[in-house]
């Protein structure tokens, strides 16, 4: 029977193989599916063999890429079959065809559970594998305890236990609550004593998942991991079957070292020493051998060791050893090793002090940029990008530019962007920067986003010594026969503004420049045409003495577009034509663009991350710093308060998009201020800084109409006066983000950002042990200059004793200092400590007051509640002031699970299932003050029909604790965005269901 049934499968597979084309295959598959569907539907007593055969066929068809949307039920039903063969098919096919989201899977939970708790090992294995592959949340809830029992059982065979380990891992991923740190850190540590390497392999994966979720909870596992590594590297007690090409279980070695990297650091000196001995042995003892597989395995171990050494922040000597090994690797023939060598060297860049030694391999890395393997080329590109600084930017960027012409299409965009970023970040001089960007546009115009060309225009505009050079370069590029449209834009713009500076250069007369630009005119888009019209009128204005022939040519262009269908072009043509007839008066209107306010480059902003740059300054940054132009100072001026208006002559909108490519109009505006209607500008918030670049919007501070009309051409003079006024009334530094959001986030986690502005970032990392806490403040100077007069004062509330270590007066550029803050909790209170922080950048002092997230819940420790204990304690505490109850309205509507998560994040441990009503939460925590520890019990009763209200009861043997904790929880539950009870006059009373519920409670 069985044979013929499965022969049917073989025949079917053969048929499929014999199909000449996809069409035939589809016909055969459709026929088979129809056959299976009818059989499932009609034949009531379908034999299990047939079912089995059909189900395998379905899986085969599914693999071929056909949707199999029926038969799921039959497949799942096979799991419950009594014969092993059917059961096995059911399990395997179910875990391929279905996923955790299928409802059918729930039907199987009971059978699966019976198989797991049954005595049959092979059934146990099948069931554990299924749950390990596709088990969802439902499975977590009903199976976790059984699976844990199997994993911990000493009577189970290893084959069952290792599957139980990975099954538990899956359940934990679906619902982290199934593994409680308190109980499991000891169990994990015991499991790591396991001698059987298969079980150990699976347990190690479980450990990685647990530690990744809670790095502080599993410290006791660290020495065990080190011991496992010692055993493996010394080949102690390693069975033959776990020796892979002569190496004791390389997989487990790698996994164990990976697990250790999830711990923040390893402090215990003995463990650390033992580990470094192991690592040293691996680093020194790995040789290249002939056998590919052996070589592979040995290097897998070696690379993981390198990774771990980097993670552990080893001594300098060991680090340089690592760099030397990697340096050797990036030069070998074996492509895998070369690939990983480059990848790891890139990671190595994050380690301080080794950048210099990595630079020695620059030539070798550049060779890899030409490797035939794109995977390797990408690694090399990443590494070069990472290692670039002022000293080697010229070489690296030029290599990238060279590579650009031959690079694969897929990598070009990234390459162009990286080259542009490096050029800006590390330009040794500005002429070079302009060269690089123009080359980039020339070679890869399609990949140059607008921000890149805006940026180069901005630099040229703001630096007088670049202007003639920029214009000359633009002329050279535009003289080429075929150029990218972006080049026409940037070239047209620069020539419009600055070509007059070239007047004495041969071939650069106004007429010649116009001819060069106008040759490109017919083929470019409307928006570029508009930009070129602006350039033309500027060229016309600058042609001194006036050249009637040029004037005639340009006028012809304007006239031609007077009736253009595009409103923008038409308007420009009409207005420019009219303006250009004004003769010399035009000069005031068409004056040179003022300097742009310096803003953070959108490009750099996008890419800037925590990585610390070398303190050296690039030319672009230096220049930005040195410039004392008015444009620099007005950066932080708030435009929102309204007195400053610009009056656009020609348009009623100043939105960036519409201003795009519309540079000359700004200038016309300024001369004509008195005719204009006031038009408020968008407020210059932090977000505006992030907007592409200054080019789209005019530099508004210089455009105060009254000033302008009296002194229209002297921008420099007026800048100073307006800047002075600004410094007086404007808060000079704005945070990048919301102080409140940062604070709220830190209330429920222990590390993150407390405050950030363009100059400084204050990060925070906290550790709590009962009533004591240690908070480390990380003061990071983001600025290219030093921050001076740094001062931090803690204003503690009465219930906290706080001691801040000395804060240095100065933070060097791009440096970070750490200031530990010791805290002792004396009493329960919701009062907050405040950090009074001030610093100066340049001469501007900044002072900020920040609330510190040393909140009540930091001194709580979740405690598991046994039902009997809870009930007796709960009963013992009766009524106020020890047991407080309140109906809270206006709470954030949260599903019950999320609310449990909120409590858990506050270190208040929810005891699931303790309250029989699923809409209620019961939780417990221990509050620690210096004098005593207090057990607190919390009960929340929610109303499923109205999630915005609930009844909260808090009980503890200490009246103060009860009150403060109740109020604190209430604050956390209330949604600030909806009106809270305070806003509802108590006397008006409530109506509707809310009142009914209140009455019931």
């Amino acid at each position: 029977m069985s044979l013929s049934g499965m022969r049917g499968l073989s025949v079917f597979i053969s048929d499929i193989r014999n199909c000449q084309n996809k069409e035939q295959e589809r016909l055969r598959v459709d026929k088979e599916l129809a056959n299976i569907r009818t059989s499932f539907k009609n034949e009531k007593g379908l034999s299990v063999y047939k079912k089995k055969k059909y189900v395998w066929k379905m899986l085969y068809i599914y693999m071929l890429g056909y949707d199999v949307d029926f038969g799921h039920m039959e497949t799942v039903a096979l799991i419950s079959a009594s014969k092993y063969a059917e059961k096995q098919v059911g399990y395997i096919v179910t875990s391929c065809l279905l996923n955790e989201n299928h409802d059918f899977l729930r039907l199987a939970i009971n059978t699966v559970r019976n198989d797991i708790i049954g005595r049959n090992e092979t059934y146990q294995c099948l069931a554990l594998t299924l749950v390990g592959n596709i088990g969802g949340k439902d499975f977590s809830e009903s199976l976790a305890p059984d699976v844990q029992k199997l994993l911990l059982s000493s009577s189970c065979r290893p084959i069952v236990r290792k599957k139980a380990a990975l099954c538990l891992l899956r359940l934990f991923r679906k619902n982290p609550d199934v593994v409680n740190v308190d109980g499991w850190s000891d169990r994990m540590s015991q499991l790591l004593d396991e001698r059987e390497l298969g079980v150990l392999t699976a347990v190690m994966s479980l450990l990685v998942a647990l530690v990744a979720n809670n790095p502080d909870g599993y410290w006791n596992c660290v020495p065990k991991c080190v011991r496992i590594l010692e055993r493996l590297t010394r080949s102690q007690d390693i069975p033959q079957e776990y020796t892979y090409y002569g190496i004791p279980s390389p997989w487990l070695q790698v996994k164990t070292m990976r697990a250790l990297q999830y711990f923040p650091t390893i402090e215990d000196p003995n463990t650390r020493r033992a580990l470094f001995e192991v690592l040293h042995r691996i680093l020194m003892g790995t040789d290249v051998v002939k056998n590919v597989n052996k070589n592979n395995a040995a290097h897998a171990v070696l690379f993981e060791a390198l990774s771990l050494v980097m993670h552990l922040d080893a001594e300098k000597e060991m680090m340089s050893q690592c760099v030397a090994i990697l340096g050797k690797f990036i030069a070998v023939r074996e492509p895998n090793i070369r690939y990983l060598g480059l990848e790891n060297m890139t990671r190595m860049l994050l380690v301080t002090d080794v950048q210099e030694s990595i630079k020695r391999y620059q030539a070798q890395i550049i060779t890899s940029l030409k490797d035939p393997d794109i995977s390797i080329r990408r690694r090399a590109l990443d590494l070069l990008y990472g290692m670039c600084d002022v000293t080697n930017a010229k070489d690296i960027v030029e290599e990238l530019l060279q590579y650009l012409t031959t690079a694969d299409f897929g990598i070009r965009e990234e390459l162009a962007l990286k080259a542009a970023i490096l050029a800006e970040k590390f330009a040794p001089d500005l002429l070079w920067y302009v060269d690089v960007i123009l080359q980039l546009i020339d070679k890869a115009g399609d990949f140059i986003s607008d921000d890149i060309w805006y940026r180069v225009v901005q630099f040229v505009t703001n630096n007088d010594d670049l202007q003639a050079y920029g214009a000359l370069k633009a002329r050279d590029y535009l003289s080429k026969p075929a150029v990218h449209e972006t080049m026409v834009k940037v070239g047209g713009y620069l020539l419009g503004e600055y070509s007059h500076l070239l007047a004495r250069t041969p071939g650069c007369s106004s007429k010649e420049i116009f001819a060069i630009i106008h040759e490109k005119f017919p083929t470019v888009s409307i928006s570029t045409k508009a930009l070129l019209l602006s350039s033309y009128i500027k060229i016309l204005m600058h042609s001194q003495p006036p050249d009637p022939e040029l004037q005639e040519q340009i006028w012809r262009v304007f006239q031609r577009f007077e009736g253009n269908i595009d409103a923008e072009i038409q308007q420009r043509a009409v207005e420019y034509f009219a303006l250009s007839r004004k003769g010399p008066a035009m000069i005031d209107i068409m004056a040179e663009m003022p300097k742009f306010p310096e803003r953070q480059s959108a490009l750099l902003k996008k890419t800037e991350d925590a990585e610390a740059d070398a303190a050296e300054l690039s030319a672009t940054r230096l220049r930005v710093q040195q410039q004392t132009s008015n444009a620099m100072v007005v950066v932080s001026q708030p435009f929102s308060d309204g007195p400053i208006h610009v009056g656009p002559l020609t348009r009623s909108s100043s939105s960036p998009q519409e201003m795009n490519g519309d540079l000359a109009l700004t200038v016309t505006t300024m001369g004509q201020g008195q005719q204009s209607t006031p038009q408020p500008l968008a407020p210059a918030t932090g977000d505006l800084l992030g907007d592409l670049l200054a080019i789209e919007a005019p530099p508004p501070a210089s455009v105060s109409s009254s000033l302008l009309s009296s002194e229209p051409s002297s921008l420099e003079g007026l800048g100073d006066s307006s800047a002075l006024a600004l410094l007086d009334n404007a808060p000079s530094v704005q945070p990048i983000g919301s102080i409140k959001d940062w604070f709220s986030a830190l209330c429920v986690k222990d590390s993150g950002v407390l405050y950030e502005d363009p100059y400084i970032q204050i990060g925070l990392k906290a550790e709590w042990r009962a009533h004591q806490g240690r908070v480390t403040l990380f003061l990071g100077n983001k600025h290219v200059g030093a921050l001076t007069s740094v001062r931090a004062i803690i204003l503690p509330p009465a219930h906290l004793r706080m001691q801040l270590s000395t804060v240095p007066d100065t933070i060097p550029p791009r440096a970070q200092v750490q200031c530990p803050l010791e805290i002792i909790n004396l009493q329960a209170s919701r009062d907050l400590a405040v950090l009074d922080f001030s610093y100066s950048h340049g001469s501007a002092p900044v002072n900020i007051n920040l609330r510190l997230p040393v909140v009540l819940n930091k001194f709580l420790q979740g405690t598991p509640l046994a039902p009997a204990d809870f009930v007796s304690q709960w009963r013992a505490l009766t009524g106020p002031p020890l047991k407080l109850q309140e109906v809270v309205r206006g709470v954030k509507p949260l599903p019950i699970l999320e609310m449990s998560a909120l409590f858990n994040s506050m270190h208040i441990l929810v005891a699931p299932g303790l309250d029989p009503n699923v809409n209620n939460i019961v939780a417990g925590a221990i509050f620690a003050s210096e004098a005593r520890k207090t057990l607190c019990l919390i009960r929340v009763e929610t109303d499923p029909s109205d999630r915005t209200q609930l009844r909260l009861t808090v009980a503890s043997p200490d009246a103060v604790v009860s009150l403060e904790l109740k109020e604190y929880i209430k604050e956390q539950l209330l949604d600030v965005s909806t009106p809270t009870p305070q806003f509802v006059p108590a006397s008006t009373g409530l109506t509707g269901p809310a009142a009914a519920l209140a009455g019931l409670l």
Binding site: M63, A165, L166, A202, Y242, S249, P335
Partner: protein
């Protein structure tokens, strides 16, 4: 973790697919096509790693090995060691080799169900459960014995003309 294990032949036909996260059928075919496109464009002496952000999202890689007419491809994220996965592919192939005595593509085509059994002994839910090929084969054979498929293999081999 390991996101997927794919065995494709050098014509791009899937011989075994196993995803460790939910993927719709049509998306699976897309994935197979794209993976094949990438692999078939790579010469043999190149590295065994390809970044696969376009196909599987950021931080993912293909680690693959080319044996005769088959590609064995593992899709991994950065929590796995690339060389470790290469070892694992070797373990999978050696285990299949021991189960089928000199495995070839046809064995895998006609016994794809057995290949699933072997794979389940190596990976559960995207994590490695066993790396010793003798343990893997021992466990798989225990399953086969219970299933008494042995005769069927003989037939399958006969009907395909002894490879």
């Amino acid at each position: 973790m390991i996101h997927a294990v794919l065995v494709l032949n050098t014509q791009g036909k899937p011989r075994l697919i196993k995803f460790y996260y939910p993927v719709r059928a049509e998306k699976q075919q897309d994935i197979i096509r794209n993976v094949y496109k990438v692999l078939s464009s790579r010469a043999d002496h190149l590295s065994n790693f390809v970044e696969a952000a376009d196909i599987f999202g950021s931080e993912t890689k293909l680690v693959y090995k080319h044996f005769a007419t088959l590609y064995f491809v593992f899709v991994i994220d950065n929590a796995e060691s690339e060389l470790g996965i290469l070892d694992l592919i070797q373990v999978l192939v050696e285990s299949l080799d021991r189960c089928f005595k000199n495995v070839c593509e046809l064995d895998i085509v006609f016994n794809f169900n057995k290949v699933h059994t072997v794979l389940d002994e190596i990976i559960v839910g995207g994590h490695v459960v066993e790396t010793s090929s003798s343990e893997i084969v021992k466990a798989a054979e225990e399953v086969f014995k219970q299933e008494s498929f042995t005769d069927m293999i003989a037939i399958a081999l006969k009907s395909t003309g002894k490879r």
